[in-house]
């Protein structure tokens, strides 16, 4: 067949959307874009659970979407959900109910995954994205910020203050003040002020804004948002902001002919973008008109085009892990050594461990961050590393992957993973094996620089006849490394069934 067709459904906080698009000889052709307002976010953000009535409505929407997709011969639709589902306490029941009533399996994206998809989608159109940039995505339930330096993501932060959520949180205050916008700004700034201490914005950063609300704002300002990008100068943006900041949602609704629910979230969203523009120090806002469905579909239709961007993203992940490690005053040279040794070992025994490149990336991130717990306390630093990594915002990694990295870090030195450890028992079977294998590797890598003095030079790693042999030359004695390596070798052998040898040759 000369064409390929794909469909995706996005269950968001304020609407359900579906896109059906085909790729044919002329390129991309969007066949359908459907949007049904459904305020699941109202339920989650105020009641912490989604009501049965809303789920029923959702199921009938999904069934009607399924019918429409079936009209194009599509029987499976990639369906994702974001904040409203993610934060609902009754999520397990909801997923089950939706599956039973519609046959659709909904994948609930965690916050970092959602942002990863968005950032990738923005950077796919990278021709316009400058080397230095602050990228922001304002969803209804959460806000994501990424700082790019020299073309790589350096820092990311996800904050749970989306447009709808902000208006829900601050709604009780609205009636009591004439300067509601100031309250909103102050509230947002409680987060942004902290960021200013955590990251220095690179010079000449562009400010990329995305999310439905910036599309709306641009539309209200008379811009066309049909292209990939649109630009609003700082002055224009501020004068628009000034024109709405003193209006009540009712007045906004009347002035711009918006439904009340959209009017309610306009001011909070506009304030978020204003503050982020200040944060970025850019003199204009570059809007990027994206949506989740579109991003998913593009990936389905052009899997190969994503190879490049995925490679780039892997680099970004390591880059931001390194920046994070810097914040914890890490020992750069030791970390680099552990990263090198561990990666070499991983690559050398590839045929034995059967792990993919994603596992390699997790190992590398673990190497970069394995000692960050020392920032808290040298005693049991591995436990602090574990705690820190679990709670970090790292771009491109989902929550489960972060847990795995945290575990690898935890077991990089003294302890070995045991089923009775709580953090191990909560892992799935595959995850346990993964943690075991990768921690076995990092332990060897770490042992090879036990003294933190990078004594082992010109190492070469070789795997033959079920023996992993590491040859290294040193100029100083390396008894500590030799001893540490032999200490860690048993667990490695237990995990992989491989014998290890560290052959150290002293040269002058």
């Amino acid at each position: 067949m000369a064409y390929k067709i794909a469909a995706a459904i996005d269950i968001g906080s304020s609407a359900v959307r579906m896109e059906i698009t085909e790729k044919n000889k002329d390129g991309i052709n969007q066949l359908e874009f459907l949007q049904t307002p459904l305020y699941l976010g109202h339920d989650t953000f105020t009641e912490k659970r989604i009501s049965f009535a809303k789920i029923e409505k959702l199921c009938s929407v999904l069934n009607s979407y399924k019918d429409i997709a079936a009209g194009y011969g599509i029987d499976s639709i990639r369906t994702v959900a974001t904040t409203a589902f993610r934060e609902a306490e009754n999520i397990e029941y909801i997923l089950d109910l939706v599956k039973l009533r519609t046959g659709i399996t909904v994948r609930v994206l965690d916050d970092p995954e959602e942002k990863t998809i968005i950032y990738r989608e923005i950077l796919r159109r990278e021709d316009r994205v400058q080397k230095n940039a602050v990228i922001s995505f304002v969803g209804t339930g959460s806000l994501g910020i990424a700082v790019l330096e020299d073309g790589l993501i350096k820092f990311t932060q996800n904050i749970r203050i989306g447009s709808l959520k902000l208006s829900e949180i601050l709604e009780p205050v609205e009636g009591y003040t004439k300067k509601f916008h100031m309250i909103i700004e102050q509230y947002i700034n409680t987060y942004i002020d902290v960021l200013k201490n955590l990251i220095k914005i690179p010079d000449h950063s562009a400010f990329i804004a995305s999310g439905k609300e910036i599309d709306l704002i641009a539309g209200l300002m008379g811009l066309s948002v049909t292209d990939n990008f649109f630009e609003i100068s700082r002055d224009d943006y501020l004068s628009f902001y000034d024109s709405i900041k003193n209006l009540t949602p009712n007045q906004i609704s009347d002035t711009y002919n918006l439904t009340m629910d959209r009017a309610e979230i306009l001011l909070p969203s506009a304030a978020v973008f204003k503050i982020l523009m200040d944060f970025s120090t850019a003199d204009k806002l570059t809007g990027c008109n994206i949506n989740m469905c579109n991003a998913l579909i593009y990936e389905d239709l052009y899997p190969n085009k994503f190879d490049k961007i995925n490679t780039w993203f892997d680099k970004s992940i390591l880059n931001s892990a390194t920046y994070t490690a810097e914040r914890f005053r890490y020992d750069k040279r030791h970390t680099d050594a552990v990263l090198d040794y561990s990666t070499d070992i991983f690559d050398a025994i590839r045929e034995v461990h059967g792990l993919d490149s994603r596992a390699r990336l997790l190992l590398q991130v673990a190497c970069i961050l394995h000692d960050c717990g020392k920032y808290i306390n040298l005693k049991e630093h591995y436990n602090h590393s574990y705690d820190l990594i679990k709670r970090l915002d790292l771009p491109g990694l989902n929550t489960r992957e972060r847990v795995i990295i945290a575990n690898i870090a935890r077991y990089h030195s003294e302890m070995i993973p045991l089923p009775e450890h709580d953090n191990i028992s909560e892992l799935g079977p595959y995850e346990r094996v993964l943690v075991g294998k990768l921690s076995a590797i990092i332990r060897l890598g770490d042992a090879m620089d036990k003294s933190h003095m990078q004594k082992l030079r010109k190492t070469s790693t070789e795997f033959k006849d079920n023996i992993l042999t590491i040859n290294a030359s040193v100029t100083r004695e390396a008894t500590l490394e030799d001893w540490a390596f032999s200490q860690k070798a048993d667990f490695f052998t237990e995990v992989f069934g491989i014998q290890t040898k560290l052959l150290i040759e002293r040269s002058m």
Binding site: N24, N29, Q30, L31, E32, V61, Y65, D67, I68, G71
Partner: protein, 682 residues
């Protein structure tokens, strides 16, 4: 400038009555074949019936509710009722006069409708048997006396009231003229020709057999018309299908709005009927002839032969480009426009039929509004569903007086596995759309048929409508979005090409008018030509007045209601309005804006009434193919220049007929299409 002065507007009801009187003029027009004139007589009646059931009933409700709000023409509901009633009384007496004249002419032509008294011996015997065997068994006399109250008289049924006497006591009895037997019966005629008799004449003659032991002092035919508009509070309804079924059943119970009585009725009986039914003198119509002349349509259709008394045949022409080979292929090559009834409706059925059987077709989506009784469209959709196509049908249950019919088809489709949606809460879906999704080697392709008229094979023979086939992606994508909006809960995205009410059409027309006004102010060519059925929306009229004042040349071909008054100095001096009423019911809607020498053409389902613009789902769509635009230009020219069936609207709201010259546009158009075929231009 105040454009809202009442004197600038004609009341909607009075304007409609003018339209009905133009239909009556066709019945009186001696150049129209005799039996067709009988057809127009019938249309005048059935039109009036609906007018009473809906419009007059509505006005009465307003009066009863104490509403005194005046319309754009400055008339209160009470005043409108009075004026309408005067006009209808006048119209009915003209109609019956015309009917009497037609009967005389028919006799000359060999067709007689006679009274019982004029039967010869053989005929009397024939009728006597007919009465005993067929009529008598279905009659149910209902006596009215102290123990038996006035019975319920079903709306629009013809009844006979008898005055009876026994032992010096008088009472009434009512017999309903049975609806299950043809009202006009053919009786043997020894001579060459046809002879007929109304059955009420037989029943009256033989009434003694119904009321044995009574003296019959007199009898009179009468008919009651009742309020028949469905009033459904859709917000309170969980199952629209069920609710409409219920209401249709209750329709005959609406309150009476008109009483028709034979002129020969005595005063006492008249008073008795009026008080029993609660009807005022002004709502009582005295009839010089048979009650309910709508029966003449089926009567005229029953008469075989007599071709000279009928319109010459104009068999629908085929559309050569669509008639051979695959319709999909033909539509892929270019857009096609089909003009009913000059051209055949078959292509729509063929298209649907090809889609139903084509293995590459994935889905068919259609809006059905008024479907004919044994619709081939419905049958084809069922076949498509059986062929594993995904079939989605939006059945508009609320199509007035077709509700019952529509429910039947909706259920049938549902049983066959089609996905049926029963209309939209609060909005009537009036758009005519058919969408076919097909898998082709290069990708998904969507084919669309959009039209100005319904998917009804019967009206396709008598309504002039335009249908449009295309696979332009922009239009297909809009059509698909509209469907999703109608069948699901999705928001309607911004349309690329279509304009759809309830929001889009008014905005679109205003914008187009503004554009003409701008051009006029810059001295550029500025003109608007619109062909539609009705123009009654006050804001739209004001907008047209503005355009006229700005120097835009406006030509309107409005068949029915037109509340706009043309030719008023400084208000509508640049507006000319004509109405065409002829053999076919003018039904196509065409919107043409001069657009500084590059005219834009839109056609669609929407008229310019408030309901079309604000309360219905209607669509209008652009015709962009240069050849089809040329054709629309010619169609509009033919209509505009015709004088035979045209009437010009004057600034006082009355119509005048121009001197006849040349052929009527409906004949010209038929020839136009014949020539296009001959010259291979189709």
């Amino acid at each position: 400038m105040n454009l809202a002065k009442p004197s600038y507007f004609t009341n909607r009801e009075l304007s409609w009555l003018e339209f009905n009187s133009r239909v009556l003029e066709e019945a009186m027009d001696e150049s129209v074949p005799l039996l067709e004139r009988l057809g127009f007589i019938s249309i005048v009646s059935s039109n009036l019936d609906e007018f009473f059931m809906v419009r007059i009933a509505g006005l009465k409700e307003q009066v009863d509710a104490g509403l005194e709000t005046v319309d754009a023409a400055g008339l209160s509901p009470a005043k409108q009722l009075t004026l309408a009633s005067e006009r209808i009384h006048e119209m009915v007496s003209m109609q019956y006069k015309c009917y009497t004249d037609l009967l005389t002419d028919l006799i000359t032509a060999g067709i007689k409708i006679i009274d019982y008294g004029n039967l010869d011996e053989i005929q009397t015997e024939y009728i006597s048997d007919y009465f005993d065997d067929i009529i008598m068994p279905v009659l149910t006399p209902m006596a009215i006396d102290a123990g038996r109250p006035f019975p319920f008289i079903a709306g629009n049924s013809v009844n006979i009231v008898f005055i009876l006497e026994r032992d010096g006591a008088r009472n009434y009895a009512i017999v309903r003229v049975p609806g299950v037997i043809p009202r006009i019966i053919k009786i043997p005629d020894g001579l060459q020709g046809e002879t007929y008799i109304f059955i009420e004449s037989i029943i009256i003659q033989r009434a003694a057999e119904l009321f044995k032991g009574y003296d019959i002092l007199g009898s009179t035919c009468f008919r009651v018309t009742r309020d028949a508009d469905l009033s459904i509070d859709e917000d309170d309804v969980s199952d629209l299908l069920f609710e409409i079924e219920q209401q249709v059943r209750q329709r005959q119970w609406g309150s009476p709005v008109r009483l028709e009585l034979s002129r020969n009725c005595d005063r006492e009986t008249r008073t008795f009927l009026r008080s029993s039914l609660g009807i005022s003198e002004s709502d009582t119509y005295y009839i010089d002839g048979p009650i309910d002349l709508s029966v003449m349509m089926s009567f005229k259709n029953r008469i075989n032969g007599y071709d000279v008394l009928k319109y010459p045949e104009q068999p629908p022409l085929s559309v050569p480009a669509l008639a051979k080979g695959s319709m999909f292929k033909a539509i892929s090559g270019k857009d096609h426009m089909v003009h009913l009834p000059y051209q055949s409706f078959d292509c729509v059925q063929d298209f649907l039929s090809e889609a139903a059987d084509d293995p590459d077709v994935l889905a068919i989506k259609q809006v059905l509004y008024r479907v004919s009784g044994d619709s081939p469209i419905v049958e084809t959709l069922i076949r498509a569903a059986r062929n594993q196509k995904q079939v989605t049908v939006l059945v508009e249950l609320k199509a007035r007086f077709d509700e019952e019919n529509n429910i039947t088809w909706a259920k049938k489709l549902e049983r066959a596995g089609c996905h049926v949606i029963y209309g939209i809460r609060g909005l009537k879906v009036h758009s005519k759309i058919l969408l076919v999704i097909r898998r082709e080697p290069e990708g998904i392709k969507r084919y669309v048929h959009l039209a100005t008229g319904n998917y009804n094979d019967r009206t396709a023979r008598i309504y002039t409508d335009l249908g449009f086939f295309t696979c332009r992606e922009s239009i297909a994508s809009d059509a698909s979005s509209l469907f999703n909006n109608l069948t699901g809960y999705t928001l309607l995205p911004e349309m690329k090409k279509l304009a759809a009410s309830p929001d889009g059409i008014r905005t679109f027309i205003y914008k187009s008018i503004d554009n003409e006004m701008r051009n006029a102010s810059e001295g550029l060519p500025a003109a608007i030509t619109i062909k539609a059925n009705s123009l009654s929306d006050t804001d739209m009229i004001k907008k047209l007045y503005e355009a006229s004042s700005a120097g835009v040349d406006i030509k309107l071909i409005i068949r029915g209601i037109c509340c706009l008054r043309p030719g008023i100095r400084k208000v509508s001096a640049n507006i000319r309005v004509k109405s065409i009423v002829g053999r076919y019911l003018e039904h196509s809607r065409i919107y043409c804006f001069e657009n500084n020498g590059n005219p834009s053409f839109y056609i669609g389902s929407s008229d310019m009434m408030e309901r079309n613009l604000d309360r219905r789902v209607e669509t209008i769509f652009p015709i962009e193919d240069p050849g089809l635009r040329q054709r629309l230009t010619e169609i509009l020219e033919i209509h505009w220049n015709e004088t035979d069936k045209s009437r010009w609207l004057k600034s006082d709201g009355k119509y005048s007929k121009p001197e006849k010259s040349g052929k009527e546009s409906q004949v010209q158009l038929y020839e136009y299409y014949k020539n296009l075929i001959k010259s291979d231009h189709l």
